[in-house]
Amino acid sequence: MSYLILENISKIYNNKTVLHNISVNIDKGKILAVAGPPGSGKTTLLKIIAGLITPTSGRILIEGVDITNKPPYERGFSMVFEIPPVYPDRTGYDNIAFPLRIRKLPENEIKRRVEEIAELLNIKHILSRKPSTYSGGEYQRVALARALVLEPRVLLLDEPLKNLDAKIRESMVTWLKDLQRRLGVTIIYATHDPLEAMTIGDKVMILLNGYQKQVSTPSELLLKPVDLDVDEYISIPALNVIKSKIIEVFEDNISLQLGKHVIKVRKQLPMQLSSKEVFIAIRPSDIIVSDRGEEKMISGKVSSIQYYGRGQLLTIESEDLVFRVVVDRLVSVGEGDVVYMDLPSDKIRIYDIDSRRLLG
């Protein structure tokens, strides 16, 4: 049985539904990343789990016990917010010890637990210092230490890294994941950044406008997004989405109109999709570019190049279509060059224009 179960959680504020029937199971010791753009309902969902907000309907179960109506302090969860409050006039030690003192633990027990967690989070050096002397990463770790010192059953993290430098953020993600593995704590991690979600989550929930679009492992999510909204949301650099028309459906392939080009794609689709308008989507890193063309390829002119170390992001204009393509850093290409693009069939996804669901 799953450790933590959310069952049809909905929340309505002033006749506006901000969360629609959220249902998910989380196993003990795993990380569920909740990813969605600002305003998609992530924080509301976390606060409902923490007990800070009551859901309009639905249930929360932990180890089979319904805790929907239990107050926050009886749940044994800890929550860390985007900008965690750390008392500026208290030392690191006193900040971390605070929740234990409220619970009136003996001082020697407090000391043992504070030192243990400080060791684990690598912040022993700031225990006697006040928050104004901390770096961003240290500040964030003190807040985490204060949450972890209570030995919570579930740790709820709401954009805990949002205000950190990019480089620190990157190492904090690896560090947090490693810490989680050692402690075995169950984590729900909210972030607006799909890459961060896929890096940290054992499973990722995509939350768009209050709807739970998909819950799956990071690789499933990348290989089989359920609809165009999810595909667009998780693709950075931005997904290539082109309005197209299926000219004809054959037994094991289809012909597609792409601007002025007609390409053949190996896909098995129902015959009735012939002459239907669709969206086709392909990620920038999945298009193959070469400087010599074959007839089946789409030619275009490179209008801009953005080098970023391990790769280069090209913008390629082909008559009325614009493609974004990622190539290796060693590919030598200049602005104004004419190149040829191959769109591999297994990397193309076809979506219904109206429902935006995946057709194949």
């Binding site: 753009p37 990019a166 480089k167 990157e170 799909p194 890459l195 961060e196 990348l222 950075i236 650099p237």
Partner: protein
């Protein structure tokens, strides 16, 4: 007019005991995007504020278009600064926000309207002119802030982490957008950021800063492929470069690294062994970028996959070689591997970085 728009000459700025900017000098060419990149507290924002005229340096000179402006006020300089928080007036319309930039110009109404509409059209804001700034999206607000700057036709546009507060997806779009605008207007931009990816994708040249000093200035390609020391090598690039300490040896054209647990054969044939002569028996740190380690059944290194990290449409394999060395290896999502697999690896030797262990400076160029 000279090709140099901005020149900083030996700029130093102290705040109490802290040397925020330490003897910084550089030139910025007309029409280029020049980034100041570094961690929090490296002095990049103070440098920008000195250029803008919001701070006076303790020593050194600032020249804009050849003129010494060190002691001139912000308004007397032909620069315009866009802050991290866009400072768009929420109660004013988009039109009034843009026109605000022209308030000191003493232009008549028609002239103001003409200029505002021109800029608005170029920035795709023409449909929004009558809307209140509080009602438009973040990326539009950013364009309004930039439009307000561009409308006064500054020599230099200064941008202080303008994308930090945007979410990851909008950020990527805005990077492309900014680059397109800059090309279209051929405007000189100085861009401050802590995000190495952003700096690389936007800039013609980057100055990497640390502790008040400039560590390296170069094109994104130079910075990435020839980092001048360990700081630049580790700060730029994601996932972070692999570093291994040891002593390099060459025998019979074989390149070997003696590390803690024995000899690691890096290459069984190198063309110019004499390149390494000067560093024989010297303690070095070698740097290998995660994309320069390739899974190859014929590779010389053997390792075991300990941990697989998803990174968007790629994966980072954490691979244990020689017991105690952990390497990060970047592969695409379609690579079929699992934890515990024993695999062979090849290091792309031509992209090897070698640093002095003591000074951290780059000591050999492989190419």
């Amino acid at each position: 007019m000279s090709n140099i728009v901005l020149r900083l000459e030996n700029i130093t700025k102290r705040f109490g005991d802290l040397v925020a900017v330490n003897n910084v000098s550089f030139d910025v060419k007309r029409g280029e995007v020049f980034s100041l990149l570094g961690p929090s507290g490296c002095g990049k924002t103070t440098t920008l504020r000195i250029i803008a005229g919001l701070e006076k340096p303790d020593s050194g000179k600032v020249y804009i278009d050849g003129e010494d402006v060190t002691y001139k006020s912000s308004r007397e300089r032909k620069v315009c600064l866009v802050f991290q928080e866009y400072a768009v007036f929420p109660h004013m319309s988009v039109y009034d926000n843009i026109a605000f930039g022209l308030r000191f110009k003493k232009l008549n109404k028609e002239e103001v309207s003409k200029r505002v509409r021109e800029i608005a059209e170029l920035l795709d804001l023409d449909e929004l002119l009558s809307i209140r700034a509080s009602k438009i999206g973040l990326s539009e607000q950013q364009r309004v802030a930039i439009a307000r700057c561009l409308v006064v036709e500054p020599s230099i546009l200064l941008l202080d982490e303008p994308l930090t507060l945007l979410d990851a997806r909008i950020k990527e779009r805005m990077r492309r957008e900014l680059r397109r605008l800059q090309r279209e207007f051929k405007i000189t931009v100085i861009y401050v950021t802590h995000d190495q990816l952003e700096a690389m994708m936007l800039s013609d040249r980057i100055a990497v800063m640390n502790k008040g000093r400039i560590i390296q200035i170069g094109s994104p390609k130079e910075i990435y492929e020839k980092p001048s020391n360990l700081f630049v090598a580790t700060f730029v690039g994601s996932p972070t470069i692999n570093l291994i300490e040891g002593v390099l040896r060459v025998s019979n054209n074989r390149l070997m690294l003696s590390a803690g647990n024995g000899d690691i054969l890096l290459s069984d044939y190198i063309e110019k062994p004499e390149v390494f002569r000067e560093i024989f028996n010297k303690e070095v740190i070698i740097g290998v970028r995660p994309e320069d380690i390739i899974i190859d059944p014929g590779g010389l290194l053997q390792g075991e996959i300990r941990y697989i990290e998803a990174l968007g449409d790629r994966m980072v394999l954490h691979i244990n070689v020689f017991k105690s060395i952990m390497l990060r290896v970047l592969t695409d999502l379609y690579t079929r591997v699992s934890i515990g697999d024993k695999i062979r690896l090849r290091i792309n030797i031509s992209n090897l970085h070698i640093f002095d262990k003591v000074s951290g400076e780059r000591i050999i160029n492989m190419r």
